[in-house]
């Protein structure tokens, strides 16, 4: 009995046990099916989703910055190039104590106070997550020394970067401009232009001049590496590469030798010069003195140097050729003369008597001629050769401001020339309408008189003067002044010439043009106001001198240069073209506080022409002797 129960118990126990085993098996089946359905969900239903996530995880796009396009002069001389250098860069956001880190760094790599100042300035202008250079152009030993100690400096890295270099420095800055680090304003512009992608990896952008206006062509197309990265963001391998396309190569119309001669000819004078080929509008030289070294801006300028440049009374940062307006003074007369002839106000042979001043009928105010006592009987030819003011006071009065404005604006006064770099001012060619708009005042007859001699409200940039001169030189054909001759695509090698700069041809009687020319030729002959310009030249030069007043001279007072502080002396002006019969070069020169145009600007013009037309290099330093040339 007892045994029986035990056996039954055992069997029941076994049955219960096996039931539990079967239940377990069922339990396992259910849970494995649960897993399988989870796998199905992840790997089939949601596969695309996770596939995308995995791809995004692993693939990172690394931009490859293109080489910025070279800039050459008309003869192929390199004006702007790139060089590769190692830079020591700091990402401020990754650094706790910036000063301490910099001090530590200077134990391994020399960091000068000016490097630190420059870095401070960069720091102010940049975002903290950007990698900012503290030292550039590291030597190989410095790179090696840092590499060994790299681990001590999280957030500090060495990069190989391309830098812009302007071999001629100051000489080329008036037209090349410079590049600098991209700031927030630049970023906004890039975004607005839809170029954000192309500027990934680019730190620099053209800020002025050619570098700015041709930014698009010079920048090139950013390439990129598709790289596989690990979870730490380190590059593991490159999956594909789209190479960058270097920026286009710009060939300028500038003749860098001519530019150099012009720049040197100024000596210590401040001023500007623009030389144009009147046959096509090509700018051969464009000088603004004093200048600045654009290379300073490339690696970031330190605040001290910047302040020195910005606060200097010489205003080296001002581009006097484009961005400064001066009264054109007597250089305005040839255009006035043409206006009088073409508008039939005076014939070439009409003469006036010059008592040394001009009076408006019924007014006692004397508009003084520069020559006390006057020039006597003056016709058109003489009015230009001796630069008679009275002749033009009367002519201006005769024409009236609106006729003057309408005729002379054809020479480009009072509006931008459209040169292919930015920063140009439009000058002022006054009219009744202009005065009303500008000053809410009526135009008086007395306002017109000084306009006749390029004073009063008249203002022009040296570039405008050169442009007007080039129109004069080409017998009335206007070509837009420009700096870029051709653009070569660095990928296809295809050269693209700048489209013809022809603007319009003026409807002026050729005889009148010939009259004015012959008078301007005689300006450079003995008896003219600029005899030294033509002296002994194997070609004929047509020119006109000018003086722009810096301070007003009261009625009855006499202007005596030596009595006046240098900075308040008159500006000297000269426009010229040569050879007079078939002009190849037209130019405008402004010498600030240079006094008389013929004396200070004349030799500069002559050196330029001699080089450009004859290939003659100037004799040593020009002797700026103050000989008693006829005053203007």
């Amino acid at each position: 009995m007892k045994e029986k129960v035990e056996i039954r118990d055992h069997q029941r126990e076994m049955r219960a046990y096996r039931l539990r085993l079967s239940l377990s098996a069922g339990f396992i089946l259910v849970f494995f099916l649960l897993l399988v359905s989870r796998f199905f969900y992840l790997q089939v239903v949601q596969h695309e989703h996770f596939k995308t996530l995995a791809e995004n995880n692993r693939i990172s796009i690394v931009p490859i910055t293109p080489n910025r396009g070279l800039i050459l002069d008309r003869n192929g001389t390199v004006l702007a190039r790139n060089f590769s250098a190692y830079t020591l860069e700091i990402t401020p956001s990754k650094i706790k104590n910036l000063n301490k880190t910099i001090d530590e760094l200077s134990k391994y790599i020399e960091i000068s106070p000016s490097d630190k100042r420059r870095f401070r300035r960069l720091l102010d202008d940049s975002h903290s997550f950007e990698s900012l250079p503290i030292r550039t152009r590291l030597k190989d030993e410095e790179v090696a020394r840092f590499a060994v100690n790299n681990f001590r400096f999280p957030g500090v890295e060495i990069h190989a970067r391309l830098f812009r270099q302007y071999p001629d420095g100051e000489l080329t800055s008036p037209f090349l401009g410079y590049i600098g680090r991209i700031n927030d304003d630049d970023l906004d512009k890039i975004d607005a232009a839809g170029d954000t992608a192309n500027y990934k990896g680019t730190d620099y952008i053209g800020k002025m001049g050619i570098e700015q206006s041709f930014e698009k062509q010079l920048h090139g197309t950013t390439g990129f590496d598709e790289v596989e990265v690990d979870s730490g963001g380190r590059e593991v391998r490159t999956l594909s590469r789209t190479p960058p396309i270097s920026g286009d190569i710009l060939t300028l119309t500038i003749d860098s030798k001519l530019q150099e001669i012009a720049e040197k000819a100024f000596g210590d004078f401040r001023g500007a010069l623009v030389a144009i080929d009147p046959n096509n509008g090509e700018i051969l030289a464009l000088v603004s003195k004093p200048g600045f070294d654009p290379n300073l801006f490339v690696e970031g300028i330190d605040s001290q140097t910047w302040a020195a440049l910005n606060n200097s009374p010489d205003k080296p940062l001002l581009n006097r050729a484009l961005h400064a307006e001066y009264p054109p003074g007597s250089t305005f007369k040839p255009f006035m003369a043409l206006a009088g002839l073409q508008l039939q106000a005076r014939s070439p042979t009409d003469t006036i008597s010059d008592p040394g001043y001009f009076e408006l009928p019924g007014q006692s105010h004397h508009y003084r001629d520069w020559k006390p006592g006057g020039h006597g009987m003056v016709d058109l030819h003489k009015s230009i050769v001796v630069s008679c003011d009275t002749y033009y006071y009367g002519l201006a009065n005769l024409l009236g401001i609106d006729k003057i404005h309408d005729f002379i604006s054809q020479f480009g006064f009072g509006k931008k020339t459209g040169i292919d770099i930015g920063g140009e001012l439009s000058g002022v060619l006054p009219s009744a309408e202009w005065k009303m708009k500008r000053y809410k005042q009526k135009w008086y007859a007395g306002d017109t008189v000084p306009v006749g001699i390029g004073q009063g409200y008249d203002l022009a940039t040296p570039l405008q003067l050169a442009f007007a001169t080039s129109i004069l030189a080409s017998d009335g054909t206007a070509y837009k002044p420009h700096l870029v001759e051709s653009i070569r695509n660095s990928k296809t090698g295809k050269m693209e010439k700048t489209a013809s700069a022809f603007l319009y041809k003026l409807d002026i009687d050729p005889n009148y043009l010939a009259d004015v020319r012959s008078a301007m030729i005689d300006v450079t002959k003995p008896g003219g106001t600029a005899p030294r310009v033509g002296e002994g030249a194997p070609y004929e030069v047509a020119a006109k001198t000018g003086t722009a007043q810096v301070i007003g001279i009261k009625q009855g007072e006499k202007y005596v240069a030596s009595n006046i502080q240098e900075r308040y002396r008159d500006h000297a002006l000269l426009i010229a073209y040569a050879p007079a019969d078939h002009p190849r070069i037209a130019l405008a020169i402004l010498v600030e506080n240079g006094g008389h145009g013929g004396t200070t600007a004349g030799p500069i013009a002559r050196q330029l022409m001699d080089y450009y037309l004859l290939g003659k290099l100037p004799q040593d330093k020009v002797n700026q002797e103050k000989i008693d040339a006829p005053a203007d």
Binding site: S24, I28, F31, L35, Q43, H47, F50, N57, S231
Partner: protein, 367 residues
């Protein structure tokens, strides 16, 4: 065949279950292949895993040759020793990764919780076998104490994964020992009721893991990172996988612990759904064999051991794969026979050794 070789072969294979052995070997080979990929083709690591496997196989063979009734004799000393060591850990243990799991014995560092994975079920099975003739509620209560003391000690280390595994291995012993359905139901209900209490004793990081499970995207760079990355690995594998050595998640270091606890993500990424099904199939074969051995086991001890070992093996598989595929929280549970690491390999094959011993010694017991 030379008689000597035949004798050697017989000696070696006499107590080995060839079905279980073959399944195990396939899984282990698969594991080595995945490890090769997961370790970035690091042959040194694969080599050291081969050493682990060899040691584990020797252990399995040795245990398989020990009859179950001999094994029972180890139960009490092993359990007591394990418990002493656990208390030692709690008092003098070394802290690594914020948890106190290791005990430095001077000669070597040991992790007593690993020992308990075998010692606890062995002890319980031995205890029930001893009291087989009259199993009462009192016995189950004592068994519960035997189980809970080490589990709580381990959970306090904290090592939730191991604690859960040991608790479940002990529970399976109780379950197969015939713990009444009423008590089971009561346990289930009181378990649910005690969840808030359990929540309050959990460590912050453990709570975080549980919360993260509900919504991994809540903390993508913190606690949710592991889960998100392993789900990306599994999901991006797709139906057919990216191919061996071509998984990107592991090779680019997005996956944490990709040779150990998360090796399944690597496998899943490279072999896809097809691979996963094959792996589950292999595991099912092992489990089926284990259950069939359990069903035919002659003594209570061997029935409880075989059932518990098999079910624990399943628990490992499920918890690991569930964790990697994002349906269970991240707990430190390796994927059996695949994950890199000597301890878990030895523990697994030791369990299989016991299964084989039970299977091959039952005739001897009967006669």
């Amino acid at each position: 065949m030379h008689p000597l070789i035949r004798r050697l072969h017989r000696t070696l294979s006499h107590h080995i279950d060839s079905f279980l052995l073959i399944c195990t070997m396939i899984l282990i080979s698969l594991g080595l292949a995945v490890l090769f990929s997961a370790s970035d083709e690091n042959l040194v690591k694969v080599g050291s895993q081969v050493v682990n496997i060899t040691v584990a196989c020797v252990v399995m063979w040795a245990i398989a040759n020990v009859p179950p009734h001999q094994l029972m004799r180890f139960a009490l000393p092993l359990y007591v020793a394990g418990l002493v060591l656990l208390i030692g850990v709690a008092l003098f243990g070394e802290i690594s990764n914020g948890a106190r799991r290791w005990l430095n014995l001077g000669i070597t560092r040991i992790q007593p919780s690993e020992l308990m994975k075998i010692a606890v079920p062995l002890m319980l099975a031995w205890y029930f076998d001893r009291h087989e003739s009259a199993l009462g509620l009192k016995n189950y209560a004592i068994a519960a104490v035997i189980l809970l003391v080490p589990v709580l000690l381990i959970a306090r280390q904290p090592d939730l994964g191991t604690a859960i595994l040991i608790a479940s291995s002990g529970f399976f012993v109780l379950f197969f020992a015939g713990l009444s359905w009423k008590i089971l139901g009561g346990l289930f209900v009181s378990g649910l009721a005690s969840l808030p209490i359990l929540w309050s004793v959990l460590h912050d990081y453990q709570r975080k893991r549980l919360l993260t499970l509900l919504d991994p995207s809540q903390d993508p760079l913190g606690a949710g990172y592991h889960t998100i990355q392993s789900m990306i690995a599994v999901g991006s594998g797709g139906p057919f996988g990216k191919g061996w050595l071509h998984g990107t998640q592991a090779h680019l270091d997005f996956l944490p612990e990709h040779t150990t606890d998360f090796i399944f993500a690597v496998f899943s990424e490279e072999f896809g759904l097809i691979g996963n099904l094959f792996l589950i199939f292999l595991y099912s074969l092992v489990i089926a064999r284990g259950l069939s051995i359990a069903a035919r086991a002659p003594t209570l001890f061997s029935r409880l051991m075989a059932g518990s070992i098999t079910m624990t093996f399943f628990t490992y598989c499920f918890v690991n794969m569930g964790m990697v595929s994002g349906i269970l929280p991240v707990v430190g549970v390796p994927l059996p026979l695949i994950s890199y690491g000597g301890t878990s390999m030895v523990t697994m094959l030791l369990g299989f050794g016991i299964l084989m011993s039970i299977h091959t010694h039952k005739k001897l017991v009967k006669t």
